[in-house]
């Protein structure tokens, strides 16, 4: 409770409100401080007071052999995951709790979520309300069921203050390609910082998977906790709705040149030498698993390439057919963790290719690998051929 009050002080809130659920990120091991903190809670007899899901941890508990780092760190990471379970949280171990049918808060519901991509999805795509709850505060909110009434819990803070319009030179085919969304998210994060922006100029009814990729990228390049996509997110049926009928502080265009630069900056690898392909950041949805299975078809992963897909344990068991096809093709399926937060990759002596801007953003610093960013199709084709395969046609590359 002391932490919740400290948070109220820091945000200037004068009252606390009830939250109906929590998503806790503190179960990922960052060093002994992680355990020192949870031990304090466990020793004090704490239990979560509201339904609580857990974010990824350091180890895939179902496939522990996938961990290739220091066994002591793995053991400490596993211990931390156990401790949070002992506090009464559900062992979901996914960064995409919104893909669990029973963990999707409804429009307007007040919750306390950690994990930057989940926060962005919760506010933007579900229309439920959370602030950016960092480690420690997320579990404090889960235990007390209370948070400061501040920021995005309040209606007025959810108004778009910036409008970002796709410029006329962005080709229609690119506007309707999955690969646009992670790249657009990087630009969104840079332009918006921590502000709420409304994106205008996309077809109505964009899929959850596209909005997920957009938000995960924006929360990596910026501190985006909420965005509107006009015609696709629930608080923005129209641009006027996103603006709460007010005037934006800025209206800016995003053109093809800026998107191409953002795309190119996601790749740090040079040449076409390929070591690994990592998909499923944030954790792949059921539809994405089926999509990856369909893309690879009857082909097999090249023997020199480590190809893996991260997903939630619950999503994985719901998709036995796609999972079977992918495993038969030589794809490793990883749950409970992710390949950019733990030493999972078998090889780092060539590019690691990904369709995730978030993975591309963090992997070079976290696991010391050079990244080649591409579409899901480019990633799968590369995994099969054993070298980085590109198709620049969507982007109007020469």
């Amino acid at each position: 409770m002391r932490l919740v009050l400290r948070a109220a002080e820091a945000t200037g809130a004068t009252e606390l409100i009830d939250v109906s659920g929590a998503h806790v990120d503190s179960c990922l091991y960052h060093g002994e401080a992680s355990l020192d903190f949870v031990d304090r809670l466990v020793d004090g007899g704490a239990r979560v007071g509201i339904p609580t899901t857990l974010n990824v941890g350091a180890v895939d508990l179902i496939h522990p052999e996938t961990y290739r780092g220091d066994p002591r760190t793995a053991e400490r990471g596993r211990l931390l995951m156990d401790r949070y379970r002992a506090l009464g949280a559900r062992p979901t171990f996914t960064c995409a709790p919104y893909q669990l049918a029973d963990s999707r808060p409804s429009l307007g519901e007040q919750v306390a979520w950690g994990e930057s991509n989940a926060i962005a999805f919760c506010n933007s795509v579900l229309g439920a309300r959370t602030n950016r709850y960092g480690d420690f505060l997320d579990i404090a909110a889960a235990i007390t069921g209370r948070v400061p009434y501040a920021g995005l819990h309040r209606t007025d803070a959810r108004r778009a203050t910036i409008v970002l319009r796709l410029a006329p030179d962005v080709p229609d085919a690119l506007r309707d390609a999955d690969v646009l969304f992670p790249v657009l998210g990087i630009v969104l994060g840079r332009r918006a910082g921590s502000a709420v922006a409304a994106i205008d100029g996309l077809a109505r009814g964009q899929s959850e998977d596209r909005l997920k990729a957009l938000g995960a990228a924006a929360a990596s390049s910026g501190s985006v906790a909420m965005f509107h996509v006009v015609g696709s997110t629930p608080e923005a049926p129209t641009l006027e709705d996103a603006l709460h009928s007010g005037q934006p502080n800025a209206v800016e265009d995003i053109g093809l040149a800026e998107l191409r630069v953002a795309r190119d900056q996601l790749s740090t690898a040079r040449g076409d030498r390929l070591a690994a392909v990592s998909l499923g950041t944030p954790h792949a949805s059921a539809a994405q698993l089926r999509g990856y299975a369909a893309l690879i078809g009857e082909r097999r992963v090249h023997p020199d390439v480590h190809c893996l897909i991260s997903t939630g344990r619950d999503v994985l068991v719901s998709q036995p057919q796609a999972a079977g096809r992918l495993r038969d093709a030589g794809v490793e399926l990883l749950v409970d963790t992710c390949s950019y937060i733990a030493p999972i990759l078998r090889r780092t002596d060539g590019a690691a290719m990904t369709d995730s801007a978030k993975w591309a953003h963090y992997a070079p610093g976290n696991v010391g690998v050079d990244v080649a960013f591409g579409s899901a199709r480019e990633c799968i084709d590369s995994a099969v051929s054993g070298r980085v395969v590109r198709d620049g046609s969507l982007w109007g590359d020469a």
Binding site: L3, F37, G134, D135, F136, G193, S220
Partner: protein, 127 residues
């Protein structure tokens, strides 16, 4: 405690401590950050805002435990994630990293390398 002191490290872009700082060494490791390789330990880190991951609170607390943490962080907008990381570090290890919010013009006036004193009341003075 009378406050903390350190030389300013003015970052050209916001930094997420998680994925951006190695708490074992205090080094800036974000491959996309222009100041990759800089050491944050003992410095008064100056940046417009925090960024990115909600795990940064843990990284800050772990850096305090490992004695690699910045002396203080100066921002121009409040950052709850860093504030909580600092509060937990104080609770567990008795050392807080002051997270101070300054008006943008004052923040912009701070030159890299300037020796600064951060008071317990959040005051920022040139040493």
């Amino acid at each position: 405690m009378s406050g903390v002191s350190g030389r300013a490290l003015v970052l050209d872009e916001p930094l997420s401590l998680w994925g951006g700082m190695d708490p074992a060494t205090g080094e800036l490791i974000d491959a996309h950050h222009p100041q990759r390789g800089a050491r944050l330990t003992g410095r008064v880190v100056v940046m417009p805002s925090g960024r990115g991951s909600s795990s940064s609170a843990s990284v800050l607390a772990e850096a305090v435990r490992a004695r690699t943490a910045p002396a203080a962080i100066l921002l121009c907008e409040p950052d709850l994630i860093l504030a909580i990381g600092s509060a937990v570090a104080e609770e567990l290890y008795g050392v807080a990293v002051p997270i101070v919010v300054l008006p943008a013009d004052r923040l912009a006036a701070i030159r890299d390398g300037t020796a600064l004193l951060i008071g317990r009341d959040g005051s920022v003075k040139t040493a």
